[in-house]
């Protein structure tokens, strides 16, 4: 069982959360010409890192907020959690 520290609600079990994928992916800017490659990178291409991975989760059975979680994909250890709009240093 993973335990995720929701920055809004505190420590909860993974049963309350839904996974949202790599949080480092950025949507291409709207007000400029977007190349096929940029769309590809946004929609499909993923690094899928082994080790520290910054990812999105939604606290779907709790506050329903999207959050960022820094987790090790090899050991499942969770290091830090952030609010969705928080900058991660």
């Amino acid at each position: 069982m993973l335990y995720i520290n929701c920055p809004h609600c505190g420590m909860r079990s993974q049963n309350e959360f839904s996974y949202g994928g790599d949080a480092s992916v950025k949507r291409p800017e709207l007000n400029k010409e977007v190349s096929d490659q940029e769309w590809d990178n946004f929609v499909y291409n993923r690094k899928s890192l082994r080790g520290k991975h910054l990812e999105l989760w939604q606290h779907i059975s709790g506050c329903r907020q999207w959050i960022k979680v820094e987790r090790d994909t090899a050991t499942h250890e969770i290091f830090r959690t952030f609010k969705a709009d928080e900058e991660v240093a």
């Binding site: 079990s13 839904s18 490659q37 929609v43 890192l49 082994r50 987790r71 090899a74």
Partner: protein
């Protein structure tokens, strides 16, 4: 190579089976090969076998980080089927079914292929319609498909829940009678033994650290056991695809996810077929030892851990008990997890890359085991001829940018969509 036969079995009995040849050797890496296959799993071993057999290329090495057959070919649920609707998947898998039927003879190794049939259960009228459509598409591609009504399903699997007041009543099902199971380890070992006998070097405990690429062309690989020159390199590393892609500065439409399976204690024969639950993701078959072999959904988050968590297992087995209530009385014997190369449309990739001489075989999602022979056969063709075969032409890498996705079930990495 010593042939495995009843006569040799009797002959070797007189010497207490102490004089059998080794099934494959343990060579040290040579300086150079025509083709290097990275990954000594089912697909890699099959690729090397077909390179030697169909294309007379035997200066081939298989580079394996651990031991051969130690990854997903050693930790799957052994189901073989070709019950796909889309042409790309149907024709590819049905070509594979033919290789499966001949495999034990072809490899002189009993892979215990057991065409016991697979039944996908339907739980609504709409689902019956969808299955009728899929069944028709299958038959147009020469694949056997039978649409069963509730009574017919009940005759085959009376132990399923046919009571009136269930949440997901069984309306019927779609059956592919020629589908089945095989002994997974034997597939890896059979391919390894034949490939080795044709001159392929199977190099184990050898990790790939990097690649030598110059002027857009592959020159060789760097490994924990030294540098190896190669004219062509094929990647067959399933869940480790992203790790090697990073060393090649490639970003792929692949995420590595965790998939669990489990077996119960062995019981007397009760289930003759493979059965899948239609209102979720659960499937079950009974092994020759009597264990109920069960599997279902991904854990749902990126992982390289090769071990799962209990919430997913509980979710999957809840579906299993809804489908066949007697399963709740069984004790769990063991559970395990493997790491899946989940592609974004749920279909695989067998293609050339932008680097000359580098070939890619990945994205097998839940369905790598059954594809072993067809994947090896088409990948060997792609490498030997430097062009894709018509069977794997749809499994190209650029379909994601051109929009030609093969959305068999629309299931990629986003399991919550289903």
């Amino acid at each position: 190579m010593q042939k495995y036969s009843i006569f040799n079995l009797v002959k070797n009995a007189f010497s207490n089976h102490e004089n059998w040849d080794l099934a494959w050797k343990d060579p040290t890496p040579k300086e150079e090969y025509d083709v290097v296959i990275i990954g000594g799993g089912g697909h890699g071993l099959a690729t090397a076998y077909y390179l030697a057999k169909e294309h007379n290329i035997s200066k081939v090495a298989i580079i394996e980080k651990g031991w051969i057959g130690g990854g997903n070919v050693g930790r799957n649920t052994t189901i073989i089927r070709s019950n796909y609707m889309h042409d790309e998947n149907g024709l590819f898998s049905e070509f594979g079914m033919d290789l499966w039927r001949k495999m034990s003879q072809d490899l002189n190794y009993n892979v215990m292929f057991s065409p016991r049939g697979i039944i996908n259960l339907a739980h609504s009228d709409a689902q019956m319609n969808a299955y009728a459509r899929r069944g028709n598409s299958m038959r147009l591609n020469g694949i056997d498909a039978v649409l069963l009504n509730r009574e017919q399903v009940k005759e085959i699997i009376p132990m399923a829940d046919f009571s009136e007041n269930v949440r997901f009543p069984i309306f019927g099902g779609l059956m592919q009678p020629s589908a089945g199971t095989a002994r997974h380890d034997a597939v890896a070992w059979g391919y390894a033994r034949q490939a080795d006998s044709m001159g392929v070097d199977i190099i184990q405990n050898c990790e790939v650290i990097g690649f030598d690429v110059s002027a857009g062309k592959i020159k060789g690989i760097r490994t924990s056991r030294g540098n190896i020159k190669a004219k062509k390199v094929g990647l067959c590393v399933a869940g480790s695809t992203n790790i090697l892609a990073e060393k090649l500065n490639m970003t792929l439409p692949i995420e590595t996810h965790l998939l669990q399976a489990c077996v119960s204690e062995p019981i007397k024969p009760v289930l003759d077929n493979v059965v899948t639950f239609g209102a979720g993701h659960f499937y079950v078959s009974q092994s020759d030892k009597g264990e109920m072999v069960m599997g279902g959904d991904l854990d749902g988050y990126n992982s390289y851990a090769q071990r799962g968590n209990l919430p997913t297992l509980q979710h999957v087995l809840t579906e299993g008990i809804a489908m066949m209530p007697f399963l709740s009385k069984l004790k769990m014997l063991r559970t395990w997890g493997g790491i899946m190369d989940m592609s974004m449309d749920g279909s695989p990739i067998i293609d050339k890359t932008h680097i000359e001489g580098l070939y890619l075989n990945c994205g097998w999602c839940y369905g790598g085991f059954k594809a072993t022979p067809a994947s090896g056969w088409t990948f060997a063709h792609t490498i030997a001829q430097d062009r894709v075969h018509e069977l794997n032409a749809g499994y190209n890498l650029n379909r994601f940018s051109t929009g030609h996705l093969i959305d068999e079930k629309g299931l990629g990495t986003k399991t919550w969509i289903s």
